[in-house]
Symmetry: C2
Subunit: 354 residues, 2 copies
């Protein structure tokens, strides 16, 4: 099927575009009243994720409001450990919790292999339904948490400020940590292949917590596994042509290493100037980012100024996908997002003389 | 007075040393049973800070256990906003809270100028007492929070995950934010001058939250004020020869800019390889850091391996002060710290062939 709007895919391939494509991490989420309504209907967050009709509905909601250049599958990064039987609960305010966290070598050893086609069928069903509903309007992005990021939640049993338990395992029982990371990697590869087979047109790995590691630990315990995933996807008939974006929050010092994995695009948080990133790796990969999400708390004028500043950092260079440097906060006014999306399109057209 | 151990000051001046000096951020703190005992005696944390005898006692405690090459004044980074009347409470588990946070332009306007010599006399009294007790054994480090870091707590009213309010002020009312930062800067300058006059032999600015800013915002709202402080201290008779260290957590991408302030040393968190930092700015400043504090949860062997790895990154180059990349966690076994300190001394001696 030909896409009516293929800006995202063109930018990911570093081809010319009429204007810069834009989507927003967590664009389907709590800042939208219609999302909150659907979520209330679902009862809880996991039910929302696990009911393809509802996941499809919330995926499409932001596209009805804003001229976004992509849809992203509504799901959670913790679907894999949930399928592994760790007992996930997701509550607003509290954050994710696993009732059966992995604390010892034996826990990791006993971790079951998942069968994506049955255990995570609700995800691939949602992908198929969304593709049908989108009807080629914009591409659909699929995703997973990175093996390291999944491991942090699986070992800590939830979010953490100091990552005491998972880093303790990494430092003291590196073999156990590597065994867990390999199991996560195998599951992520199968998961993303299944998403590709179901119809996603772009893939993204969220390495939300890679940035809490030292450089050698990042390379050994996070990046090397993401590199394995990229390699496996590029070696597979179905997924080989689907561009993949790696995003390590706090990974600004490691951009060259991330680009070395062979990924197609690198996500940037707001601490790295886009122009620096372009100089460092822009000849090899596309760049996604990178406005500070808190700018959306400010006035429309400030949103316009900041989006314009960022677009000028890329100028007319190819290979930029505009996004925030992290997920949108739940308290943001939807009107600010409209301002942002419209500004990105109009200013980037002007910059290109279109 | 001649110091019996001047390794720290020599390393800060990038002179040769017999072995690498080491101290630990938060070395006087909750991981030590004797600290917890003194704190219980004091009743609460603020009383501990505000009673020079007790502050002196806890400052000296870690030096009785470990062969540390420096003492650091026991105090809190929030003494300045406390003196400004914002109503500080510090409770374990909850973190700092201000009962009168700054939310509007009028709040910032009304902020009183503090008189360090009376309002913060408890700090300078503690400095004098500690110097007397140390009797030249090791140098004493004084410190302050950076203007931006102080502002985050003053506006948010406590710690924050997203810095919504202070960034909102920065984006939407930049003049108000700058006015607050200038007031903080003036207070910090007076505060550090007073610490210098009272006898501290080295100074440090903790910019704990500079790393949450975009590069242009970091330069405008955090670094430029730290640069003002460095300049003011270097222009003052009493403080001009006291080396000053700037530490922005998460500032690895901005090391050159930090060194440009004219500071004597740059603190590094654990995400930047020490060897990279040395290549980038080691010809201009000393480097302090940078072991991941979570390594101290691991075995003695791992602590030794990791400290050795970091020391080898510097090799025989001058200008390294070993430290963690962030404060020591309260759950750490004191025995691990002994292993760390002893390893730093013995391995760095070996590396130098001493």
């Amino acid at each position: 099927m030909t896409l009516k709007n293929d800006r995202l895919l063109r930018a990911l391939r570093r081809e010319s575009v009429d204007c810069t494509p834009v989507w927003i991490m967590r664009q389907a989420g709590r800042y939208l009243p219609e999302y909150r309504e659907t979520r209330t209907k679902a009862g809880d967050f996991l039910t929302l994720c696990k009911t393809p009709e509802l996941a499809c509905e919330v995926t499409l909601q932001p596209l009805r409001r804003f001229e976004l250049d992509a849809a992203i599958l509504f799901s959670d990064i913790l679907t894999i450990p949930d399928a592994m039987g760790l007992g996930l609960t997701l509550n607003e305010g509290v954050g994710p919790r696993f009732s059966k966290p992995l604390r010892a070598a034996a826990d990791v050893e006993k971790l079951p292999e998942i069968d994506v086609s049955s255990d995570l069928a609700y995800v691939t069903d949602a992908v198929k339904m969304i593709r049908r509903e989108l009807d080629g309007a914009v591409p659909l992005i699929g995703f997973s948490g990175s093996p390291w990021t999944l491991a942090t939640y699986m070992v800590e049993g939830g979010g953490s400020k100091d990552f005491r338990l998972v880093k303790g395992m990494m430092h003291d029982q590196p073999r156990v940590a590597h065994s867990l990371l390999q199991k996560n990697t195998d599951a992520v590869v199968n998961y993303l292949k299944a998403q590709a087979a179901a119809g996603v047109q772009s893939l993204m790995l969220f390495d939300t917590w890679g940035g809490v590691l030292s450089t050698p630990d990042y390379v050994d315990f996070s990046l090397s596994y993401m590199a394995q995933i990229v390699e496996a996807l590029k070696a597979d008939e179905v997924s080989r042509d689907i561009p993949i974006t790696l995003f390590t929050k706090g990974g600004g010092q490691w951009l060259e290493k991330i680009a070395d994995t062979g990924c197609d695009a690198v996500g940037l948080d707001w601490t790295t100037p886009l122009s620096d990133a372009y100089q460092r790796i822009g000849d090899r990969v596309a760049l996604q980012g990178n406005m500070d999400p808190t700018v959306l708390y400010a006035s429309d004028t400030k949103v316009q100024t900041e989006a314009t500043r960022i677009l000028h950092e890329m100028g007319t260079a190819n290979g930029h996908i505009f996004n925030l440097g992290h997920g949108i906060h739940p308290q943001i006014e939807p009107a600010r997002v409209k301002t942002l999306v419209d500004t990105v399109h109009s200013v980037s057209k002007e910059i290109r003389g279109n």
